[in-house]
């Protein structure tokens, strides 16, 4: 439960050393830079190298994408768990010096990819041309043949199916004067009839007229070669385009062997770009540079010594200001839920890190919603195996899996308390396959079965909710006391505690409660009377102090409005009924699956069906309820719990470091 204490650090040194100091800071990974000057530094040489680094990242990524297309690399779930390859800073430094070959390779890959696409397009175009030429294959003349000195030739196709007979009739009817001509039909089909008509020049106009009327069209492709030659030309072109593409693809395979170089180039350029971007936050004079930033207190001295030993720099460490960036640090049980807090927002000025308290409730609430020992055990085993087997996985993945490990453990506990192991799987299997009588229950709930006593569980959920909310209010009280804001504490914390406690004392023995829980809680009469007065006193406190800084009329009005917030408390508590609803949903659906699976009874077919339905059904149920439990646990934390005390708004501690690489990970020294 802690925000890591920070110290401010100012580094100044000679400009010649700026870039090596920056490199050292990056390798150290514990210096959070803050911009030193208002306007951006106008240093064209830095901007230029930055652009160059960004261009390199882009080129490398594009080349990798191309390689992935031709020579796919395994990118499954397991591959992503394996984590990045480790590289010592010295090796990194050595390789960083000669990335020129990789740049050339990346550029070549991109260029060859373009060539492959062009070759493919050429092959496709040739294919289309060849298909267009096939009807004319038998034509012994070039396609653009128009006739001799005294004759005109018409090469083209009429739409529809024609016979030589019908065309001759057509010509005879419409151009009776035309006698000497030659007509040849090429192999056509129902959609068109290719033909060659050669006639004398004086008949040409008439013949053309009638042919055009019938929809005569010249071939789409024109060529000064005979169709047969043209087809073989086109086929040759297609074949050569395909060969070219194949050769290029084969080259891609050899290039894929050097994929690692590209990956390194990408990571190296990423680090360089980050470093260069940091330069823009630095201050510079003609011969000196200044860097200002935050360092975790525990690391400040070591960093100072390291810098001063190695470079001629002056390092000044001072107290952190209020708006220092926030880094959370928690024990092993709570740390995994830091990401949940981060996704809501980091603690702002004067706030505490709520992670530890929240993590406890997080695991409890999650477990209640999933509440099945079988699913819980699967989570525990799955996460444990993954964590053990892939120790180098990314930090964020590790945190998430650890969180689900604890959630799974809690789920297992709640599952046994409520007697649910893959629903009622044990009993169903025993009844169906081992002839245990249906009345006999093997797996009994350690506590009680929710479906039999839903009201009991509902009341329990409300109780958990009330505790959760009271803890939230308590934290707010703690913060207000720490800041010595006594009046605020009276109005918005103590008043509410008294009011709600009093109301609770009045509610528990009442008929309303008895009708819900089927038994009133016996509360001694003196406590009931006390409760009445405590509630009243609390209400007065809220009324008077909720807006104490305002004038008396407005103050009372706002106090009264604040009192109306009691309905908010009611809806907050009711919101915890989702614990019951989601818990029941898991258990009942699991039972439904078991019942369906057991429908075919004992026997070979029955057993096979049982196994299939059981596996698919529970996988689906587990997935959807995991999602539900995750989402609604977050909701209860964010809306109900954080709503009571937590504002967030802190800036994250993001040191210049080596954490944003994709393929390699620089070891810490």
């Amino acid at each position: 439960m802690a925000i890591v204490p920070m110290q401010k650090m100012l580094i100044c040194g000679a400009r010649e050393e700026e870039s090596s100091v920056m490199k050292a800071l990056q390798r150290q990974g514990s210096f959070h830079l803050i911009p030193l000057k208002e306007e951006q530094l106008d240093a064209p040489e830095i901007r230029e190298t930055l652009t160059r680094a960004e261009k390199r990242i882009q080129t490398a990524e594009q080349a990798l994408k191309v390689l992935q297309q031709y020579e796919p690399e395994e990118t499954g779930l397991l591959a992503s768990l394996a984590g990045a390859e480790e590289l010592s800073p010295e090796d990194w430094q050595a390789r960083s010096g000669n990335t020129e070959a990789a740049v050339a390779l990346a550029e070549e890959i991109i260029a060859k990819d373009r060539q492959i696409n062009e070759a493919n397009a050429r092959a496709a175009r040739a294919q289309v041309q060849a298909e267009g030429l096939i009807p004319w294959k038998k034509l012994g003349l070039p396609l653009d043949f128009t006739g001799t000195e005294s004759t005109r030739a018409f090469i083209g196709a009429l739409p529809g199916a024609w016979t030589e007979e019908s065309i001759r009739t057509l010509l005879a009817e419409n151009c009776p004067q035309m006698e000497a001509y030659s007509l040849e039909l090429l192999a056509g089909d129902a959609s068109q009839t290719p033909l060659v008509l050669v006639c004398l020049n004086e008949d040409a106009a008439g013949a053309e007229d009638i042919l055009r009327k019938k929809g005569f069209a010249r071939p789409l492709i024109s060529s000064d070669k005979t169709p047969e030659d043209a087809i073989s030309d086109v086929k040759f072109e297609r074949a050569s385009a395909i060969t070219e593409a194949e050769e290029l693809k084969a080259w891609m395979k050899t290039a894929a062997a050097r994929r690692k170089e590209l990956e390194f180039l990408c990571d190296d350029a990423t680090l360089e770009a980050e470093r260069l971007a940091s330069f823009q936050k630095a201050g510079e004079s003609r011969s000196a540079f200044f860097l200002e930033g935050y360092v975790p207190q525990a690391k400040a001295a070591a960093l100072q010594k390291k810098l001063e030993d190695k470079y001629t720099v002056n390092v000044i460490v001072s107290e952190a200001e209020e708006d220092a960036p926030v880094l959370l640090q928690n024990n092993r049980l709570s740390a995994p839920t830091e990401s949940v807090v981060e996704s809501y927002g980091l603690p702002g000025k004067g706030e505490i890190d709520p992670t530890t308290i929240m993590s406890f409730f997080y695991y409890v609430l999650f477990g209640m919603m999933l509440s099945d020992a079988g699913y819980g055990l699967l989570m525990v085993i799955g996460c444990a195996v993954a964590l053990k087997k892939f120790p180098k996985m990314a930090q964020s993945t590790k945190k998430m899996l650890t969180m689900f490990f604890w959630c799974g453990l809690s789920t297992t506990v709640w599952g046994f308390l409520f007697g649910s192991f893959f629903g009622d799987a044990i009993d169903v299997i025993a009844h169906t396959f081992f002839g245990v009588p249906a009345e006999k229950q093997i797996l009994k709930a350690l506590w009680f079965t929710p479906l039999n006593e839903p009201m009991r569980l509902l009341i329990f959920c409300f109780a958990i909710g009330l505790i959760h909310l009271f803890v939230g209010l308590g934290i707010k009280g703690h913060l207000l006391i720490r800041e010595k804001r006594w009046k605020d504490f009276l109005g918005s914390v103590l008043g509410w505690f008294m009011l709600l406690f009093g109301l609770l004392m009045l509610l528990l023995p009442s008929d309303i409660y008895a009708s819900i829980a089927s038994a009133a809680v016996p509360i001694p009469l003196w406590l009931q009377t006390a409760g009445k007065y405590i509630a009243l006193a609390g209400a007065v406190l809220v009324l008077l102090f909720a807006a104490w800084e305002k004038k008396i009329g407005l103050r009372l009005a706002m106090g009264a409005y604040e009192l109306y917030g009691v309905t908010g408390w009611l809806s907050d508590v009711l919101s915890y009924s989702r614990l019951l609803a989601l818990g029941l949903a898991t258990g009942v659906i699991a039972s439904v699956i078991n019942t369906m699976a057991a429908m075919m009874g004992n026997g070979v077919l029955g057993t096979i069906l049982f196994i299939i339905i059981f596996l698919i059904g529970h996988a689906l149920n587990m997935a959807i309820n995991l999602l539900g439990a995750y989402v609604h646990t977050n909701r209860l934390q964010f809306v109900e719990f954080f709503g009571k005390f937590y504002e967030a708004g802190g800036e994250a501690f993001e040191p210049l470091g080596t954490g944003n690489t994709k393929y390699y990970h620089m070891e810490e020294n």
């Binding site: 509902l458 949903a585 989402v631």
Partner: protein
């Protein structure tokens, strides 16, 4: 004879309403989410797992409906229990209405919220936590309806 069957009929009608109204709502909601998700995936295939989760959020109402329907079936002699008379059958029918109707309406609106959340994620992939929470707010009311239906049915 007729009266006896009428009881089962009413109860079955209730179960059917719970399953098909809530189920239809979820189908509509998840469908909307799916279209938006497919659109995002054309540009950003790496967001697949995240948009899938957002798409699935309105899917729970159908499960709640199924849940209530199943508890009813387990009480009226279809899977277990005894056949109700007409009056009790009507009670089952009434008890199924909350999750049926609230499930239908909330799933559709949750679907719309999911679509918005998916486009938020497309623009800012880092804000997954928040994007997930907004549609989840709508679900509260389906859960409340489920609770009423479930508590009533299990008490009948």
């Amino acid at each position: 004879m007729l009266n006896e069957n009428l009881g089962i009929f009413y109860a079955l009608l209730g179960a059917a309403l719970a399953a098909f109204l809530a189920g239809s709502g979820s189908a509509i909601g998840v469908g909307m989410g799916g279209r938006a998700a497919a659109g995002v995936l054309t540009e950003k295939p790496e967001l697949f797992a995240k948009v899938l989760i957002l798409q699935l959020l309105p899917g729970t109402q159908g499960i709640y409906g199924l849940l209530v329907a199943f508890v009813v079936l387990g009480k009226i002699g279809i899977l277990n229990g005894t056949a109700p008379d007409a009056a009790k059958g009507l009670l089952f029918l009434a008890a199924c209405l909350p999750i049926g109707v609230a499930g239908l309406v909330s799933a559709i609106h949750q679907g719309k919220a999911s679509v918005a959340a998916i486009s938020l994620l497309a623009k800012r992939p880092s804000s997954f936590g928040r994007a997930m929470l907004l549609p989840a707010m709508v679900e509260t009311y389906a859960i409340l309806a489920l609770l009423v239906s479930l508590l009533t049915v299990s008490r009948l």
